[in-house]
Symmetry: C2
Subunit: 342 residues, 2 copies
């Protein structure tokens, strides 16, 4: 089977965005604060938004299951305070849970966290616990920059983040490192901030020794690891200057890269440079780049085509990228699949 | 001949750093403010610092001429005010000028600018003019983030930067987009901030229409263009979503990438994805990554080996990367070489 480890609910019914706009308006005018119960989206509406979009493309392109989390750019942790983020995260996670319940063969949840700038990450634990224990989610998305492009939180190796890591280890769930909308006019959200965050996270992990404290902690760095694989020699060399072990020993037992790289040469580099055990199939469709590549005639984000065409991977290795690695990195996904007889 | 378009004076005599430390100390205690004339570095000291380092490696590795600018991480535009940056830039540029005078066959200057956070870039014009007219420099380094990792300046497409661009066009000189030290603990200077800045710059140029206003303006994006070539499909797709022309028409008449990518697969991707006319040979030695790659037995930053080994480039194309493109992108370099009969 083919598991896409990186899907967001980018196609939620319009009512969600309208509710969010009311919530944002209420930050300056609390009399307008909307009740979460005021958001009504029926199962039929949910099903339609999925069947006409993600599920249709999954069937067309030939992937089976998507690890599905709230829309990344809409997390917008910089907006409002913890209460705002908390209410918003609960709503978004519940929608992903309902999608997974409606299409249990095709979707399984990953949680957004109610992060808020300057707020202790341990405040995210109740939402995380609910998503894992009640919703059966198999992972979280962790935003290393809840300030939205101003990078005011400590690096991922700082003890600031340890409450989250302790829960991740307890539940044996990985985190995808994923920022949200950039408010900094220097950084285009999906063209600069996302990719920079991936690169930044890899370098933070190289600088630190986080996996000495958490040997079983696992991170998925999306968008093919940002710039890291392209500059793998630079990162190997910088680790060497910093007197760290070889990257394969220093970070590659704990860090994985997805395949959201939207052209063949990029996937070819990724699969050449990064050990196959560290590569997880993903498309992030329907996401940042929805168009058709005039050079190929296919969608940029139809990443399965690049994996299929890769000369670097044997059929056994493709199986690891498509399924085997995901079952290892997301043990709760593996357990859920086995419970389904898959 | 082989032109390395990206070299910094990273090996300047210790007296330079000592003077700078005194200058920095004087920001809080103006009674300590050092006189620029107090910095005494003899021609012999300069020559020794070059002969034992850059020039030795250039001869060993087989490059002929380096476009030489002050040490990037030491520009540190975030320190002090315009007066501090101005004095410091003048000192650093003069040293590069003296190196070029001592070794006219091997070095030619590129200027650092006296940028300072929140200060109008037009204040940099006098230093720029001096470097071009008196020192014979052929390019500038432009820091898109003088705040040092906090990204408080407008994007490169903003009119904020136009005074610099007008002078660049007038003198027909390119700018390398190059940040300096990161003060933001999230960003390792050479492992995150440098690469992120390259990626950010490319995306800013895609978002804007700067080259409609300045059709002859030319930027060199160092470190192989950050993440951009690896994610070229993403950038082609984002340009498409933004209703921009194809990247070859939108930015590639004006934007060039250097070859500071420190492993063979990275150079192979760069030379496969980016048109050969847009690739300039560079090593940035002796810089961020000085070690020997245990996988090859050679220095990571010995980038000529990767170009030589590239199967993507014919001998004619290698000549463009090594020399032809640089003569076109840096017309004042071409003129200086021709004046030397080269």
């Amino acid at each position: 089977m083919i598991i896409d480890c990186h899907g967001h609910y980018t196609t939620a019914p319009k009512a969600l965005e309208e509710w969010r706009n009311r919530q944002i308006a209420a930050i300056v005018d609390p009399s307008q604060k909307p009740n979460p119960a005021a958001l009504k989206i029926s199962d039929d509406e949910l099903a339609e938004s999925i069947e006409a979009n993600q599920l249709k493309l999954m069937k067309q392109r030939g992937s089976d299951l998507t690890i599905f989390s709230p829309r990344a750019s809409f997390m917008a942790h910089h907006i409002g305070d913890f209460e705002v983020s908390s209410t918003w995260a609960a709503i978004c996670n519940e929608l992903c849970y309902r999608v997974a319940k409606l299409f249990p063969g095709h979707f399984i949840g990953a949680a957004m966290l109610p992060q808020s700038p300057g707020v202790d990450p341990k405040t995210c634990i109740p939402e995380l616990e609910k998503c894992v224990k009640e919703y059966g989610f198999v992972a979280i998305n962790l935003n290393p920059d809840p300030s939205g492009g101003y990078w005011k939180s400590p690096p991922l190796t700082d003890k600031h983040w340890y409450p989250i890591y302790e829960k991740m280890v307890e539940y044996d769930i990985p985190a995808m490192i994923h920022v949200s909308t950039s408010c900094n006019p220097c950084f285009h959200t999906t063209g600069a901030h996302y990719i920079n965050a991936d690169t930044t996270a890899v370098m933070q992990l190289i600088q630190g020794d986080l996996f000495k404290d958490f040997p079983t902690l696992r991170f998925v760095v999306p968008h093919g690891g940002g710039a890291a694989p392209y500059h793998w020699g630079r990162y190997r060399g910088l680790a060497q200057e910093l007197k760290k072990p070889l990257l394969k020993d220093h970070i590659l037992k704990n860090v994985f890269f997805d395949t959201c790289v939207y052209h063949q040469p990029g996937i070819d580099l990724l699969t050449k440079v990064i050990p196959v055990e560290n590569i997880l199939f993903a498309s992030e469709m329907i996401g940042a780049v929805r168009g058709i590549d005039p050079e190929t005639g296919f969608n940029y984000d139809d990443t399965k085509r690049y994996i299929e065409a890769s000369l670097n991977l044997t059929p056994e290795e493709k199986h690891k990228v498509y399924e085997g690695n995901a079952r290892r990195v997301y043990p709760r996904l593996d357990a859920a699949l086995k419970a389904q007889g898959r």
